[in-house]
């Protein structure tokens, strides 16, 4: 049965590193990130593009990695949650999530932070409504939306851009 599985080579830049690997064509980007590249920060949860726990940035735009085939990522550049801290130091946004109590059980947080990071890159000074819309695709079952929103707004303020 395994012989029937079509595999293709892909070349993809992940958090700045060029990676060349062979993937099964029916595996999603999320499968490959977690199982082949051991980047387990992106979480598998709803698998229907509703919860956002698997959010990654593909060529500058957030996507649900559970709804992208790994072969579709061939030739693209990806940023995952693992790419946001540098030299072991949290990004200001990540630190703000902790400071404002946005992180409770933590399961949704990689996706929340990636969505927030992309939002602030596109819109350095979002309104509260912009933030609500920007993270509407990321569910938090601990209900930390207020704290998460606060963390994003304070990060934008502190950046002073």
């Amino acid at each position: 049965m395994n012989d029937d599985v079509q595999r293709l080579p892909i070349s993809v830049t992940v958090n700045g590193d060029e990676r060349v690997l062979e993937v099964a064509v029916h595996h999603t980007l999320l499968d490959v990130l977690r199982d082949d590249l051991a980047l387990t920060g992106s979480k598998e949860c709803c698998l229907v593009g509703e919860c956002g726990a698997c959010t990654v940035i593909l060529d500058g735009r957030t996507v649900d990695a559970c709804l992208v085939l790994a072969v579709e990522a061939d030739g693209t550049s990806l940023t995952t949650i693992e790419g946001l801290a540098s030299e072991g130091r949290l990004s200001p946004l990540q630190a703000a999530f902790l400071d404002h109590g946005g992180v409770q059980c933590g399961f949704c947080i990689p996706g929340q932070v990636v969505s927030a990071h992309a939002l602030l890159q596109d819109n350095p000074h979002p309104t509260r409504a912009d933030v609500d819309e920007g993270i509407a695709g990321n569910l938090c079952r601990c209900g930390c939306y207020e704290q998460i929103t606060e963390a994003i707004l304070r990060t934008a303020e502190a950046s002073g851009r």
Partner: protein
């Protein structure tokens, strides 16, 4: 996910040949926000997935001439929602594209995919109906044009044959001043499928077009030419009577999951009144 084979043709001719050879065993892939869910849950079981994203003729983009705006079928919702001329002349379409799914979904989901998937709740269906869009379709016999009002057949089924591909969607730029709007009713604000979708256009000749979805097997377009609906001075009673007639074609299903038929019919009237009022306001703005 069940295994399938994957093809990434680099010409339109190759893509059409793959579809022609495989018929219903092949499924085109653009954004994947509907298809990959169905591949995973087994409601779509193609032998071959044909990824259209490397075909030059199908590159995403929005082009304009003096009387036409053409949106490539692979263009993402994010780009449609943000496009200046779409916002200026086809605001209901921009508003609809801006409420599809979430940011992550809109970055991926394409206009062609949204209409070819043919969900009765598809947000972009109703604005395309009020703007009298035309779908440009390529098939084995060449290219043909399908008016959007003939495009939707029933849930999951369009006028396309399995061997056809939607290339682009043309929107004629109105020769008259218009006001238009897209509204929807959802269970929660933010990320949800619509329980009712509603688009309305009024123009300075007094023509009103209302299109509504998620209340039957396909979205419905009704044109009202008496001038009463578009008249800012007409009484609420006069408008309500016309809207009752217009909405008599709604047939929401009993077994629906997001809202009861009674609720949908009630909200259809609320959204209908609201949409007409907003479209009239927008027409009056300089």
């Amino acid at each position: 996910m069940r295994a399938f084979s994957y093809e990434r043709p680099e010409t339109l001719a190759d893509a059409l040949a793959l579809l022609a050879a495989n018929g219903r065993d092949a499924r085109p892939l653009v954004g994947g926000t509907d298809l990959i869910i169905r591949l995973r849950d087994g409601t779509a079981r193609p032998r071959i997935v044909v990824d259209l994203k490397r075909i030059p003729e199908l590159r995403p983009g929005i082009e304009t001439t003096t009387d036409l705006l053409t949106i490539g079928a692979t263009t993402a919702m994010t780009d449609i929602a943000a496009h200046a001329l779409v916002r200026q002349r086809f605001l209901a379409l921009a508003e609809a594209a801006a409420v599809v799914g979430s940011v992550q979904i809109r970055n991926r989901a394409s206009l062609g995919g949204n209409i070819c998937n043919a969900s009765p709740a598809a947000d972009t269906a109703t604005p395309l109906l009020i703007y009298e869009a035309v779908v440009i379709v390529a098939g084995p016999g060449g290219t043909r044009r399908i008016p959007i009002r003939d495009f939707f057949i029933r849930s999951g089924e369009t006028a396309l044959r399995p061997e056809d591909l939607a290339l682009s969607i043309e929107l004629p730029i109105p020769g008259h001043r218009t006001g238009s709007v897209h509204l929807r009713r959802t269970r929660r604000r933010g990320h949800d499928l619509a329980s009712v979708t509603m688009s309305c256009l009024v123009d300075d000749r007094g023509i009103t077009r209302l299109a509504f979805g998620s209340v039957g097997p396909r979205p419905i377009l009704v044109e009202e030419t008496t001038g009463v609906l578009a008249d800012p001075g007409a009484t609420d009673g006069a408008k309500a009577a016309l809207l009752e007639t217009i909405f008599s074609s709604a047939t929401p299903s009993q077994g629906s999951m997001r809202a009861s038929p009674e609720y949908r019919l009630a909200m259809l009237r609320v959204l209908g009144r609201r949409a007409v009022a907003i479209a009239i306001d927008r027409l009056a703005q300089p």
